[in-house]
Amino acid sequence: MSPTDFKRREVAGRGIPVPGNDIDTDRIIPARFLKAVTFEGMGEHAFEDARKQNPEHPFNQTVYQGASVLVVGQNFGCGSSREHAPQALMRWGIKAIVGGSFGEIFFGNCVMLGIPCLTVSQADLEWLQRAIGRDPQQPVAVDVEKQEVRCGERVIKAAVPDGARKQLVDGTWDSTAVLLEAGAAIEATARKLPYVRGY
């Protein structure tokens, strides 16, 4: 693996809107699908209950198959820490998410998988969802480095917090390797703690 494989400067593809606020991770992947010792096959269960109850759910619609930029509402991915949620979305084909705001654990889990989550204003969000709905085939580009989303004629201002943006752009979101670099400083920090050293 060359380091360039990890760089997530830009994601270009087609969009898929899933409107609504406070869509929790139980809704993205119901708990019964967590009974598995691998993440394989998780993609087919993304939004499973919501899709069964609503045949019109965007994840059911033919026009959105193959889309890679998910456009959501406020507080997307709140609730449970289950990484199965971003894993399911990623394995369905999602490579970037644009929303109003995100649950923090979900956001962190996405970064760990190299999935950028960008926030845009409520007005831009609504415009983007309508635009994709009108023409699902048009290209949508998510530029992590420049913090913008491009769709049709418009360039929408977006935001990714500095730390996460740097990790994605530099390709250092695979954190285990980065954390291991600290070497003996890890044990040195531990030894200074009264509860590790012994009271």
Binding site: P19, G20, N21, D22, D24, D26, R27, P30, A31, R32, L34, K35, A36, V37, T38, F39, D49, A50, K52, Q53, Q74, N75, C78, G79, S80, S81, R82, E83, H84, P86, S101, G103, E104, I105, G108, N109, M112, P161, G163, A164, K166, Q167, D170, T172, S175, T176, V178, L179, L180, A182, A185, I186, T189, A190, L193, P194, Y195, V196, G198, Y199
Partner: protein, 467 residues
């Protein structure tokens, strides 16, 4: 300059600043369970890495455990497979596992404090969002995803940005029949389910200071439901008294030295916060959720709000909630009929929760149309409750007395809602499908309120029963 607990704990655990600007934060206690770890152990094996500090890592089995027949193999082959992986992985990597045979098994957020593993001034991580619970003793405790579990196993560290800090003060005094659960539901209602995004919550004020440790655990448990990654209460006399004598707490003279350090990590007078929020505890009445997230709640005497009265962007969620729950805007929550009553979970599965429910259970019998479950949070909670005869009170009133586990909080074991059943639940989430049925419905409330709903068959004001 006066410093906060967050400042002090963060600084003490900082290994270095990462190129991304985030902190490489040492994790002092890593708790693991069967659901979010098998993939992490697999990744570790693929990377040919060991567990960095096995002596700071502890496991239990909780999410998938049946609460009736616990003999192996479990009836559900997938649950059996997950348990088997956990047992095999902890053995292979040399990690202690509190399984059934130890008598110490239970929900990870119940056993951590109970065993004295959870201590003030620590950083704690666990692959479960309710890890915020452990903040009740004055720790900084984060829920993490599976790839982060891999990071902690491999490096004992997390890459994290330091959150901002909001002090949430609860003034006044709670009325009889109002519990810690009502306090945290009221806080989430006021600050919103995403109000805490980017923040840690420091809970303070007379109501919090007077709370027992178990009550504080309930409050901190639901910090994540308010969007906050973690929440804590400063260590004080209550904290120190709670930890004294616990098996994994320091013993003898070392305990006194530890207590001195614990006191020293508390937020200092005059420390600055990024934000302060205030609630009047005296004004809180028993709270019931009516919707599909934990912020959609009202006092038991109130009526379900109208979508039109909400800000425009909130209205679709309100309409969706009303449709899912089968409620009309403007209807009182009191009298809403229930089918299932559940007392348990990492929020409200401790001894004091069972006592509060038992006090109400004594006053009647479970309504004939209601299925009522009492699920202790740990084997030790179950043992203590049985020693004081709580199980007999529950059974005499028609409640089922179960074995320890997460149970119907998230329906990963056989305890699930069926169809559109309406549940009065002491758990933490009323998300659509949360309790195991895609169309099931959940009303969150305190354990005493759940018991009151069980014996009357509908949402009831527990204060009337306790009169």
């Amino acid at each position: 300059m006066a410093r906060t607990l967050l400042d002090k704990v963060w600084e003490a655990h900082t290994v270095r600043t990462l190129p991304s600007g985030q902190t490489q934060l040492l994790i002092g206690l890593h708790l693991i369970h069967e659901v979010t770890t098998p993939q992490a152990f697999q990744m570790l094996k693929e990377l040919k890495l060991k567990v960095r500090m096995p002596e700071r890592t502890f496991g239990t089995l909780d999410h998938i455990i049946p609460t009736t027949d616990q003999s192996r193999p479990y009836a559900d082959p997938m649950a059996e497979d997950m348990a088997e992986h956990m047992i095999r992985n902890t053995k292979e990597f040399g990690l202690p596992l509190f399984d059934m045979a130890t008598g110490k098994q239970g929900i990870v957020h119940v056993i951590g404090p109970e065993l004295g593993l959870t201590q003030p001034g620590m950083t704690i991580a666990c692959g479960d969002s309710h890890t915020s619970t452990h903040g009740a003793v004055g720790a900084i405790a984060f829920g993490i995803g599976t790839t982060q579990v891999r990071d902690v196993l491999a490096t004992q560290c997390l890459a994290m940005a330091k959150p901002r800090l909001r002090q949430v003060r609860v003034d006044g005094a709670l009325a009889r029949g109002v519990y810690a659960k009502d306090v945290i539901l009221a806080i989430i209602n006021v600050l919103g389910v995403k109000g805490g995004v980017g923040y840690a919550y420091e809970y303070a004020g007379p109501v919090i200071e007077r709370m027992t440790m178990e009550e504080r655990l309930t409050v901190c448990n639901m910090s994540i439901e308010g969007g906050a990654r973690c929440g804590y209460v400063n260590p004080d006399r209550t904290t120190i008294d709670y930890l004294r004598g616990r098996p994994h707490a320091p013993q003898g003279a070392a305990f006194e030295r530890a207590a001195d350090w614990w006191r020293s990590v508390a937020t200092e007078p005059g420390a600055a916060f990024d934000d302060v929020a205030r609630l009047d505890g005296s004004a809180i009445e028993p709270v019931v959720t009516w919707g599909i997230n934990p912020g959609m709640s009202i006092g038991v005497s109130q009526t379900i709000p109208k979508p039109e009265a909400q800000p425009e962007p909130e209205r679709p969620t309100f309409r969706e909630a009303l449709a899912h729950m089968g409620f009309q805007a403007g209807q009182p929550i009191m009298g809403a009929k229930i089918d299932v009553a559940f007392v348990g979970s990492c929020t409200n599965g401790r001894l004091s929760d069972l006592r509060a429910a038992a006090e109400v259970a004594k006053k009647g019998k479970v309504a004939s149309h209601v299925r009522a479950l009492i699920v202790p949070g740990s084997q030790q909670v179950a043992k203590a409750a049985e020693a004081e005869g709580l199980h007999e009170i529950f059974q005499a009133a028609g409640f089922q007395w179960r074995k320890a586990g997460c149970s119907m909080c998230l329906g990963m074991n056989p305890d699930k809602l069926e169809g559109r059943e309406m549940s009065a639940s002491s758990s933490n989430r009323n998300f659509i499908g949360r309790q195991g049925s895609p169309t099931g419905r959940t009303l969150l409330m305190s354990p005493a309120m759940v018991a009151a709903a069980a014996i009357t068959g509908a949402v009831t004001d527990v204060r009337e029963i306790l009169k």
